[in-house]
């Protein structure tokens, strides 16, 4: 069940220091990297089927291919470590336990997309992890692993900079992240009609999640087949799955795709803590449609299987909800989050989240009726697909699924 690719060194004491990291295989992919051309690296990553681990699940290799060829402007790699999706706490494990893996991945990715500067955008709350990563970066500079010449011998410059965010969930959205990196408010940008790369001060840029980048060295070093040997055909490889809530062993586990969710909860998670029974699971960060206990029995942890049962894999951060927690409270808790975090740019999202929050408050105060539920669903539909980014559709997904699947709990609230 557990396959350690990214998390291989997590349990090794002091693996965050350069000395221990080097003893345990860090930077060993670099020699192979420079025997390949950048296109060959991208091709290898394409063949591996590596998908973005930040929640969207877009294929990493094809994303790199969107970088314009022969463009005289400098290219940039931007690593998304904003990790603000409720239920998600996996990238911090990489910062804490194996920051050199991330730096190694950055060297590989920079080479593949012909970038010389990488920025790692990390949420402001992660002060400890930012300091940890900065220490590793300083060590790597001092050892001449990065800087003007990679590993002090390859004629390729790579500079790595950590950029601290200011506590805005929306900056995990890649274009909002770039706006923030450009010193502005984190307002997502309108998306182009065709597929193209991102733009950082009008220069071509690629945005990848921390875990995605941390997977690249394994693929470069061992070839794509070593990666596709794990997981399923359409969801190859592994992912860091996080588990939180009243289970015996909450935490982060690296699993191949294709495991049954209930098995993961009962074995690695150790099952529910005494006196609690499982009522529902929000499978991949709070923006994925909720699963009832019956659906959890059927759920399989890969992209396609989760779509088949009407949810998404998201970030792989499973939030487990016990029987004794009211789903009205869950809905209220989450809509407060989204209301607070809506960036305010688009009216349907800014107003819709606040409106649903008000209705749920009214219901919890004992003034609710069935009409309120249809109003909530109506507001959800009004928000969906009418905004710049996918924040509002995510709100629709989670709120609508809670209201529809646990309608009886809302009705019980009306009759209290």
């Amino acid at each position: 069940m557990v396959v350690k690719i990214v998390s291989k060194n997590f349990d090794i004491p002091n693996a965050h220091t350069l000395k221990v990291a080097l003893e345990n295989g860090r930077y060993s992919s670099i020699d192979k990297l420079f025997t390949m051309t950048p296109d060959e690296v991208t091709e290898e990553v394409c063949k591996s089927g590596l998908r973005g681990k930040g929640g969207g699940g877009a294929h990493c290799g094809p994303k790199w291919q969107l970088m314009p060829k022969g463009d005289p402007r400098p290219a940039y790699l931007i690593v998304n470590g904003d990790e603000s999706e409720p239920g998600t706490f996996k990238d911090r494990q990489i910062f804490q336990y194996d920051p050199h893996l991330l730096i190694e991945g950055i060297i590989c990715a920079c080479y593949a997309i012909n970038a010389h500067d990488a920025y790692i955008y990390i949420r402001g709350e992660y002060k400890f992890f930012i300091d940890r990563l900065n220490e590793a970066i300083n060590e790597a500079y001092a050892a001449k692993i990065i800087g003007d010449k990679v590993m002090d011998k390859y004629d390729y410059r790579v500079n790595v900079t950590v950029h601290r965010g200011g506590g805005a969930y929306i900056c995990g959205e890649k274009s909002a992240l770039i706006e923030s990196l450009e010193g502005k408010r984190g307002h997502p940008r309108l998306k182009p009609h065709g597929k193209e790369c991102e733009w950082f001060f009008d220069n071509p840029a690629t945005v990848n999640n921390v875990e995605t980048i941390a997977t690249v060295p394994f693929i470069v070093e061992n070839g794509y087949e070593a990666y596709t040997a794990h997981g399923t055909k359409s969801s190859p490889g592994t992912m860091l799955f996080a588990m939180s809530g009243p289970v015996k062993n909450p935490g982060v586990y690296e699993l191949a795709f294709g495991n049954k969710m209930i098995d993961v909860i009962n074995t690695l998670g150790g099952g529910m803590i005494e006196g609690k029974t499982l009522k529902a699971v929000i499978p991949g960060g709070s923006s994925c449609p909720i699963l009832t206990a019956d659906e959890v029995e059927k759920a399989v942890l890969d992209y396609e299987s989760m779509w088949d049962i009407g949810s998404t894999l998201g970030t792989g951060g499973m939030m487990i909800i016990p029987q004794d927690v009211s789903m009205v409270d869950v809905a209220k808790n989450l809509i407060e989050f989204y209301h607070h975090e809506s960036c305010g740019q688009c009216t349907p999202c800014r107003e819709g989240t606040g409106w649903i929050d008000k209705i749920l408050k009214k219901i919890l105060e004992g003034d609710g009726n069935e009409e309120d539920l249809s109003t909530i669903l109506d507001v959800c539909e009004t928000m969906n697909g009418k905004t710049v980014c996918v924040f509002a559709p995510a709100v629709k997904d989670i709120i609508k699924s809670i209201v529809e699947k646990f309608k009886d709990e809302f009705i019980a609230e009306f009759n209290k």
Binding site: P86, F89, G166, P250, V325, V330
Partner: protein
């Protein structure tokens, strides 16, 4: 209110960070972080200072400083307690922590104790769901918490 300037040490840090970006616009968040590290909050005077440094108008700095929730726009207490309130922490008992602070220190989210010692914030997901419930004290995470552990930590705040 005296006119704000960076300490020589922070000015040196600012110049060092500036070299890392292709455009000085990117210095907005790093500059605001330096201000907050220096003063523990960001005064209007400091915003004007940052604006002048970046060649921006004061309103451009103001709109950024007010967008990001981690920037304190007024002075806060010596000890800043941030309790995570989002789902996994709620399920695991974040409310009990909040109630305990109300009962003992007498402050609610957004308030500072009358002696200026404690400031309480209720924050959205801190990315510590596996260690729920959690709070941060002056930015340091305390995970897998209980009322007893919180009590002990607060007693150590002298």
């Amino acid at each position: 209110m005296g006119k704000f300037t960076f300490t020589p040490e922070n000015e040196a840090k600012y110049q060092e960070i500036l070299k890392k970006y292709p455009n000085s616009d990117s210095m907005m968040l790093p500059a605001l972080w330096l201000v907050q590290e220096q003063e523990s909050w960001i005064s209007p005077d400091a915003m004007i200072y940052v604006a002048e440094k970046l060649g921006k108008s004061a309103i451009q700095v103001y709109e950024v400083a007010t967008f990001y929730t981690m920037f304190n726009l007024k002075p806060i207490g010596t000890y800043h307690i941030e309790i995570c309130k989002t789902l996994s922490c709620m399920i695991m008992g974040a409310n009990e922590l909040k109630k305990f602070i109300k009962a003992t220190i007498g402050i609610e989210p957004g308030q500072t104790s009358s002696d200026g010692k404690f400031h309480l914030s209720e924050v959205e997901c801190m990315g510590a769901c596996g260690g729920a419930p959690m709070f941060a004290l002056n930015g340091v995470y305390h995970e897998k918490q209980s009322v007893d552990l919180l009590k002990k930590t607060l007693e150590e705040c002298q």
